[in-house]
């Protein structure tokens, strides 16, 4: 348990994000919740690849040949860019909704209630 504290921390971040998604009604807060979940998942991926006493997997002027796993770093890079793209799109929708209804409160907008 105590050795897995980094994983638990990532999961706590995800749970906080889910809580925000479910119980907050402000559009921007919903986007923030989604971002928290994204950050949690990205951190989870990157912590999976850590190996004790190792350096980054780059041979240029490396300290030693013990290296952490490189695949999670590549995956996380991809998923960060994907998260950024989705966030940009969702925020654009939020801007449009705000322009149309003059409010960012989801409970005042018909379809987003419930």
């Amino acid at each position: 348990m105590i050795g897995n504290l980094p994983f638990v921390a990532c999961v706590v971040l995800i749970i906080l994000g889910l809580y925000t998604l479910i119980f907050k009604r402000n559009l921007i807060k919903i986007v923030i919740g989604l971002n928290l979940v994204q950050c949690g998942v990205n951190l989870f991926l990157i912590t999976l690849g850590y190996k004790s006493d190792s350096v980054a997997p780059i041979y240029t002027m490396a300290g030693k040949e013990e290296m952490v796993l490189p695949t999670p770093q590549a995956l996380t890079l991809t998923s960060i860019v994907i998260g950024l793209a989705t966030t940009a799109l969702i925020l654009s929708f939020a801007i449009l909704i705000y322009k149309h209804y003059k409010t960012a409160d989801a409970s005042k907008i018909r379809r987003l209630r419930g």
Binding site: V11, L18, Y59, L69, Q73, I82, L89
Partner: protein, 88 residues
């Protein structure tokens, strides 16, 4: 009522997430690493790149990167679609 259902769902999902975090291999010592060891040992020879992560991003998993570039392109096209000028 609805709030309690949502809370219960959240608690169940959190339990699953926490379970997977606690059961995961202990931090700092991956359970298996044969694929990654291949990358570390052979990336320099096969792609003549010092940076193993770049060799994965652009060579071994280049198709993912194509998808990722497409995602970004899609988002830009989507955002410009949403903020386009409408005909009067």
């Amino acid at each position: 009522m609805k709030k309690y259902v949502a809370l219960a769902a959240l608690l169940v999902v959190s339990g699953f997430f926490l379970l997977s975090a606690i059961e995961m291999h202990s931090f700092g010592s991956p359970a298996e690493e044969d694929m990654d060891r291949y990358f570390i040992e052979n990336a320099q020879e096969e792609t003549s790149t010092n940076n193993v992560v770049t060799s994965i991003v652009f060579d071994y998993r280049g198709f993912d990167t194509l998808g990722e570039a497409t995602v970004l392109f899609t988002a830009v096209v989507g955002v410009s679609l949403l903020f386009r000028r409408l005909r009067k």
